[in-house]
């Protein structure tokens, strides 16, 4: 027991004191935040900033709908009253012009405008023909035709114009038609489980996704750390001195536990840091010069984001999946480390283990979209994908307790098998130098020890 502690302590202290650990612990969240949220934030931003400028409306409807559409485009793009932000000031004034023409002249005019757009004299043009009023079909041709933000705005403008036009046609008062055409809906979904309301369905799925992805990242990061650690002991030949003092199994266990403890430390720091910043967000943001009114709005927005409710059973199951999943993969990574003689060989030999791991993660999206499907059920019962898929399922939809227990039971058995197998490969492999073993030799190693 004392020796196991010595191994765990060495693994833990050497890694936690390492410069890289400190660097990753501090900058890891910044980096992950950047790669997850920046693209999303940027696309939202570009949608919000999208402004349709310099657009020609070709109106061949003969009803004057073209003017209505132009009005709506101008209205959507006009800065909100009182919006004095830099973005609003920078935005170019929207220039929408309407050309009214006969259907017969439309084709020729379209050709001419295409040439104008090609020569960059015009950004694009909207074509409204006689069918538009009846069916709502219209065409936009332009250099920015692939821009989702601008497309959405044109569509909204067109829809509002057509709705108000048709309402007025059937005798509705102009201002009422206008109000109706601006009506918007916003749907919030909430999950109901056996225990009743369980918070927003969206929040549950996000929480499950974060959980699965965190485990995946943890396995990759710490599994590789174990592999490198074993490989280091092998290549520096320090392994022989160590196994003359402790059983290889103890060394293996100490490594897995020590590196696991490093991971827990890192998570604890991240969670504690995250909680701290969340609790201090108001004072932090106002100290950075944020507008108090906007803050209050953000505050009420955040309050409406209900955290998914987690039962004690789910909580325990989630922790078990995390720990067992880590143990399963960590022992496999250790076995790979003991099999090979260099990092290059390790990169190859680790492929089968990585494929097991990735086979879980590639189904994250389908499972998230449909947590009750057969695929989701199967993948959450198979031991190698269960640690990733089951937590996702459990937070996205209720899962029968029997299935959770069955999955956990299978995972426990798989863990025992992985540890048994790895310990045997480890015991022989640690002192084997030279050629990487073939599958048959590997079989002999396992029988031998």
């Amino acid at each position: 027991m004392g020796k196991l502690w010595a191994v765990i302590r060495r693994e833990y202290l050497e890694r936690v004191r390492n410069k890289w650990f400190i660097f990753v612990t501090i900058f890891g969240p910044v980096f992950f935040g950047a790669i997850t949220f920046l693209p999303a934030a940027m696309s939202v931003r570009s949608m919000r900033n999208a402004r349709v400028s310099d657009v020609r409306v070709l109106d061949a409807t003969g009803t004057g709908v073209g003017e209505r559409v132009a009005d709506r485009i101008r209205a959507i793009n006009a800065p909100a009253p009182g919006d004095t932000s830099a973005a609003a000031r920078r935005a170019p004034a929207t220039q929408v012009t309407v050309e009214t023409l006969e259907m017969a002249a439309l084709a020729a005019r379209e050709e001419a405008l295409v040439a104008d757009v090609a020569a960059e004299r015009l950004t694009g043009f909207l074509v409204l023909d006689t069918g538009t009023v009846r069916t709502g079909d219209a065409r936009y041709l332009g250099r920015n035709a692939s821009s989702v933000g601008e497309g959405n705005q044109l569509e909204a403008a067109l829809r509002r114009a057509l709705i108000s036009f048709r309402l007025e046609q059937i005798g509705v008062d102009g201002s009422i038609a206008d109000t109706v055409s601006r009506f918007r809906v916003d749907l919030a979904t909430e999950r109901i489980t056996d225990k009743g309301r369980a918070g927003s369905g969206f929040a549950g799925a996000i929480f499950g996704f974060i959980l699965s992805f965190t485990l995946y990242m943890a396995i990759i990061l710490y599994g590789q750390a174990i592999l490198r650690g074993v490989l280091e002991e092998k290549t520096t030949r320090v392994a022989e001195v160590i196994v003359a003092s402790v059983k290889p199994d103890v060394l293996l266990a100490g490594k897995v536990l020590g590196v696991g403890a490093v991971g827990l430390t890192q998570f604890f720091i991240w969670i504690a840091g995250g909680a701290f910043f969340w609790s201090q967000r108001m004072s932090l943001m106002s100290s950075m010069g944020a507008d108090p009114a906007a803050l209050a709005a953000a505050q009420s927005g955040a309050a409406s984001f209900t955290f998914p409710t987690i039962t004690p059973f789910t909580m325990v199951a989630l922790v078990l999946f995390f720990v067992l999943g880590y143990t399963f993969y960590a022992s496999l990574f250790a076995a790979v480390g003991a099999m090979v003689g260099s990092q290059e060989e390790a990169n190859q030999a680790v492929q089968p283990v990585m494929m097991l791991l990735v086979s879980g993660i590639i189904f994250v999206q389908p499972v998230m979209l449909n947590p009750t499907s057969g695929l989701a059920r199967t993948m959450s019962l198979l031991p190698f994908s269960a640690p990733i898929i089951m937590p996702l399922r459990m937070t996205a939809a209720p899962v029968p307790a029997l299935e959770v227990l069955g999955s956990l039971g299978g995972l426990v058995l798989a863990c025992l098998a992985a540890i048994w197998l790895s310990a045997r490969i480890y015991r022989v492999g640690l002192l084997m130098y030279g050629k990487r073993p073939s599958l048959r030799e590997l079989g002999r190693w396992i029988r031998q020890s």
């Binding site: 020796k3 010595a6 001195v241 160590i242 003359a244 003092s245």
Partner: protein, 321 residues
């Protein structure tokens, strides 16, 4: 039983393609320096790994200090220096030594005191420079060897096993190692080391075991081994070197089994039944002037060549170290 530091009884180890060790038996009394000799690939490292229970023998039993070697507690009383040496490169010297000490069950409170003593003794901690905070990789190769050696002895083991300890050592460290072996013996410890360098073994060992191709060739106290193999070796010194006529005499297989020219003298092993007097007369008859003609005890090297034969040499035997 208990006066033996190590007893190996009928131990064999086979690998898929070959037999590494075959029914090997030997006994090492406490308080001796014991040499395990043999050419490379003879099975020395396999034997040592089996003694340390790093690998399990197919058959046979090994007793260490009166306990079976599968008893984990007995391993704490052993110090081991493997042939392939290495330490955690990124760790500080003191941390590596602490870890190795803890693995051998040295109480944590006592560790630093012992480490300091050893570092000072090996001049890794002096008034000017303390290497203990340095990372292992920042040390010179010679200093790393010293650290490894401290790690082997830090827990004051009763039995020290050194696999090819002299290989790769610079002369200063080789001297320090030899001094330490002698001192361990004086303190009543047992030292077992393997080597293919017969000169080292001859100088240091109380007893030896020669193995080749996984089998024991001979074993016993060095004096006894030499006495058993004595009486057939003659040192022959000639003024002005060897003439072709003398060369012809030494080539007579009826008289001489083997002649090893050491330049200043020739170590002659007589053929079975041959008489030294006859050799003396034949050499005088060539007209050579004899400086030295002496019946000598054979060196371990000679005994080795005699008993293991040329095949041992081909397999990597090197007697001149």
């Amino acid at each position: 039983m208990t006066d033996l530091a190590l007893e190996i009884r009928g131990v064999s180890k086979r690998y898929a393609a070959h037999v590494a060790v075959e029914s090997l038996s030997l006994a090492v009394p406490k308080g001796t320096v014991y040499g395990l000799l043999g050419p490379n690939g003879a099975g020395k490292t396999t034997t040592i790994r089996m003694i340390l229970n790093i690998i399990a023998p197919d058959t046979g039993a090994i007793t260490l200090l009166g306990r079976p070697n599968t008893d984990a507690a007995v391993l704490d009383r052993l110090g081991y220096l493997p042939e392939e040496r290495g330490l955690y490169k990124k760790m500080a010297v003191r941390d590596v030594l602490r870890f190795l000490g803890e693995l051998k069950g040295v109480p944590r409170g006592e560790l630093d005191h012992r480490i300091d003593g050893w570092l000072e003794r090996m001049s890794l901690r002096t008034a000017e420079k303390d290497w203990s905070k340095q990372k292992v990789e920042e040390l010179s190769r010679g200093m790393q060897q010293k650290v490894q050696f401290i790690g082997t002895l830090l827990h004051d083991p009763e039995l020290v096993i050194l696999d090819e300890p002299f290989s790769g050592l610079d002369p200063i460290n080789a001297q320090a190692l030899k001094d330490t072996v002698v001192e361990l013996r004086q303190r009543g410890k047992t030292v077992i080391f393997s080597t293919h360098l017969m000169d080292n073994a001859e100088r240091l060992c109380d007893a030896v075991c020669i193995i080749a191709k996984g089998q024991k060739v001979l074993d016993g106290a060095v004096a006894a081994v030499k006495a058993e193999n004595a009486g057939r070796t003659v040192a022959l010194g000639l003024e002005g070197g060897m003439s072709p006529a003398v060369h012809a005499v030494l080539g007579d297989r009826a008289l001489v089994a083997r002649a090893d020219d050491h330049n200043r003298f020739v170590e002659v092993e007589l053929a079975a039944g041959a008489d030294p007097q006859q050799l003396l007369q034949r050499v005088l008859a060539t007209g050579a002037r004899i400086e030295r003609f002496e019946r000598v005890q054979p060196s371990l090297h000679q005994i080795f060549l005699q008993r293991v034969g040329a095949t041992g040499v081909e397999e990597g035997m090197s007697g001149h170290g």
